[in-house]
Structures are given as structure tokens and as C-alpha cells.
Amino acid sequence: MVSGTEVAGSAAPERITAVPVRHPGRWVSVAVLALLAAMLVHTLFSNPAWRWGLVKKYFTTGTVMHGLVATLELTALAMVIGVVLGTVLAVMRLSPNPVVSGSAWSYVWFFRGTPVLVQIVFWSFIAALYPNLSLGIPFGHEFVIFDSNKLIPLFVGVVLGLGLNEAAYMAEIVRAGILSVEHGQTEAASALGMRRLDIMRRIILPQAMRVVIPPTGNETISMLKTTSLASVASFVELYKATSDISSSIFRPIPLLMVASIWYLIFTSVLSVIQYYIERHYARGSSRELPPTPMQKLRAQFVQRRDESSA
């Protein structure tokens, strides 16, 4: 009677109803964590030194809003410079021309090898190093002369400091992405008669994106917080704005909270954006796209309903 062909014809097997394994450890950990969470919430609201009233008062004041906008602008511009220049450097690094790849290597060596804080301060002082910048023949006649202070205001100096540093890290991230694409892809595209730049742009980079996006999201989130270093160059961004207020009212903690909450809000927003970009570039790499959080939630409800109706 134990033949394989019998199975298909036999009646549906009995449904399994077993006592599930108990997890007492889970309940213990829930209890411990719930206790700790309760203590945290209690102290946040019972200790008057937090001064939540001040947090609320200053959360959306003009100075803070102005600083917040500056922080977002710095982050966006520095990342744009970082990604664009980083991609160029990564492609240069993989060039067969040793001078080109060597220059890219030196760039990364220098900008990754010195602290970003030093670079920000350096670029904000660039006008002191070169008071005038000019267009002309190298070592020869100068046609136009600019005043560095006007050409490179503090904002531009800070953006350069952050962006040029970021490019060094992005270069390595993009290079790793390019190297992650199988060599067969380049061969197939070359065999079709495609040129090197087209192959890079149309075939390699889009596939490298899947590897490049997660660390780039990381870098963006990290950049949002690194912009606070611009305060050292007296540039008013979110942190400098809040610390300016706190030094005038002598209450540092509530204003640190204001800054932290704003940073958290925008790092959360960036995480969500990153999720959707990753999902976009997952096209073709998995048979089905990963679900969005809403789809996941909906699926859970449907499952619950099915179980309770069964």
C-alpha cells in the first residue's frame, strides 16, 4: 500500500492540531523591557529639568527653522557633490589609464585621510589662503579676477568641505557597486557593439545601484548629522541655531532636545525614502518586488481574518 502513486488519489490528510511550544523567556523579556520603558517615560515627564515647555516653545521658532533649512540644504548639496564626484572618481579609478586611476586613488587617499572637521574649517578659510581667484592662462596673463570672499561665501565653503570629503567615501561605495556586476554583462554589451561609456551608463551603473543604494542611504543619514560640524566654522545650521538660543537662555538640555527631535524626524524620513529607492532598483533582481509597509500591514490583516474565520 506504500506506493507513491497512491498519495494523489487518497483523501485529504487530517489537519494537525498540536499544542504550540511555550516561550516563557519571551514573557520575561517583555516584562523587563516594559519596566525599563516605563521608568524612562516616567523620568522624562517627572523630572522638571527636562523643561518640555521650553522644547515646545522653541521647537518651531524662526531661528530653529532657519537652521533646519540650512541643515537640509547642506545635506542635499553635499550629497549631490558627493554622489556625482564620487561616481566620476569610481569610474576613473577603474580606468585602464594609470594616470587617471592614480589621480582618483590620490584624491580618495587625501580626502579620506584627513578629518572632515579639518576640511570644513579649511574650506571656510580658503579666502584667507587665496584672497583672489582669477581666470587666465596658467602661469601667465589673468583675464578676470574675483574676490574669494564673494565667490566663496561661508555656505559654499562648508558645502565644499562636506561634499569633497563625501566624494571620497562615495567613490569607494560606487566602485564596490561597479565591481559587483558580473564581467559577462560587459562582454555581452561589447559583443553587441556598445561603447565603453554606454556600457557603463546603461548596463553597469544601473545594476551597481542595487549595491550602491543602501550604503548611500547610510551616508545621507550620516551627512545630515555631520552638517552639525559646520557650527565650528560659525555657520548657522540646526545645531548652531539651537546652541545659540541655549547660550542666551542658559538652558542647554531643552534645546539639545529640539535639535535631536528634528534630526530624528529627518533621518526617519530619509530611511523611508531609502526603502522605496531600494525597492525601485530591485527590479529584475528578485522575481517579485518586496512589499511596501502598507502592503505588509494589509497582508497581516487579511491573514488574521482568514484565521479567525477558519
Binding site: 554583462q185 559583443a191 553587441l192 557593439g193 556598445m194 561603447r195 554606454d198 545594476q207 527590479r283 533582481s285
Partner: protein, 253 residues
Amino acid sequence: MTPMVKAESVQKSYGRLEVLRGVTLEVAAGEVMCIIGPSGSGKSTFLRCINHLEKINGGRLSVDGELVGYRQQGDKLYELREREVAAKRAEIGMVFQQFNLFPHMTAVQNIIEAPMRVKHEDRSEVSVRARDLLELVGLADKGDAYPRQLSGGQQQRVAIARALAMRPKLMLFDEPTSALDPELVGDVLDVMRKLALEGMTMVVVTHEMGFAREAGDSLVFFDEGVVVERGNPRDMIADPQHERTKAFLSKVL
């Protein structure tokens, strides 16, 4: 008539390893040539030299009367520029053992990419041709599928359609069925037979003796970087002349 492919003592080495040690053979226009031989015999390398994916170190190799990778002026050879090499490759289709479809593009996008980028053809025109080609390879309903959603045999047939979209005058097949499950091999070979019947010039590196016998005009046995024997596939498989050919055929048949 100029042969489609003409190789005269082609030599290729990787460092000190000599992979091709003087390969001389001709493929006529419209001919289907199958190349067999043990692994490491240089048959795939030879195929890759034909569209300059590998640079040869010695001898002369030409396609349709023009040198591969070089231009001759007087008795001097000049290396071709990247643009010129690419233009020549565009006339030669190649199908790989691992398919190498572009995974981020659908079947149709895979097919229209090169005609659009390389030949600057109109998208709507090429798209129509892409659908026709998919029909030719029996995948009319898979145009919008991504490679991952296709079986190996289907992927390889899309890869053939992709190569054909460039209207090549010569098709190179590098072990096109070696990475496929046995039951999927037939569909791919059917497409290749169709092409052969339509008069496409084909050079096929393969282990499929059945295909070589039925569809091939000539059979070449490679061993240790040289052509050991060449002949009519049916005669050669039935009655190999050379000892090494006999030994090899007795193992694969």
C-alpha cells in the same frame, strides 16, 4: 567568394600559457560550422577572438575580408580604435553559455537596447522587430518578463533574439546549451536549426553531437590549441580519421 571567417595560424597565449597554437580554418558564408573538443582545447577562446573579445598574439584573423582588431596599411598593422572595434562587433552576434541577459531590463528592452544605442534606430520600429524576433524564438508572450522570471532555455532564446536584432552577418555560439537543464536544450537547438535553415553563417562551439550531425555543414575537432581534424559532420562522427578524434568521440557519443 571571400570566406566569412578566415584564420591563418592564429596564436593566442595568456602569459606563458599558449591556448591557440596556430589555428587555420575558413568558414564560408552561409556555412554552419560546429567546433568540438575537450575543455581547455581553445575552442571557446578561438570563438572569442573572432569578435575581438580576446586579442590574438600571432597569425591573421579576418571576418568578411577585413582583419579583426587591426587595419593593415602597407606591411604595417595599426590597432583599431574602440569605436571601430565596436562597429565591427555590431555586425557579429554572440550567444554565451551563461546567457548574460541584462537582468534589469525586460526581454524586449534587452533586445532593443543595442539597435537603439549602437545603430540609433527608432524605438517604435525596433520594438516591433523585437516582438517578431520573440515570436521567432517561441516567446511571443514573454516580452515584458524580466530574465529572472524566465527559465534558462527561455533566457537563452531571448539572448539569441537580442543578437539577431542587430541583423548580424555572422553568429557565434559559445556552448549555448551547456548551462541548461536537459529538457530545455531542445527548444534552444530548434531555434538554432531554424537559423541554420535560413542561411545564417554560424560558428557553434558545442557538445551537442546530434545538432552537429543534423544542422552542421562542417565539423572541427580542436585539441591542445590546434585543429586536429575537419570534415563533414556525418562522416567524421561515423568514421573519425585521427586517433585523438576517435578517443574524444568515443567518450562523448
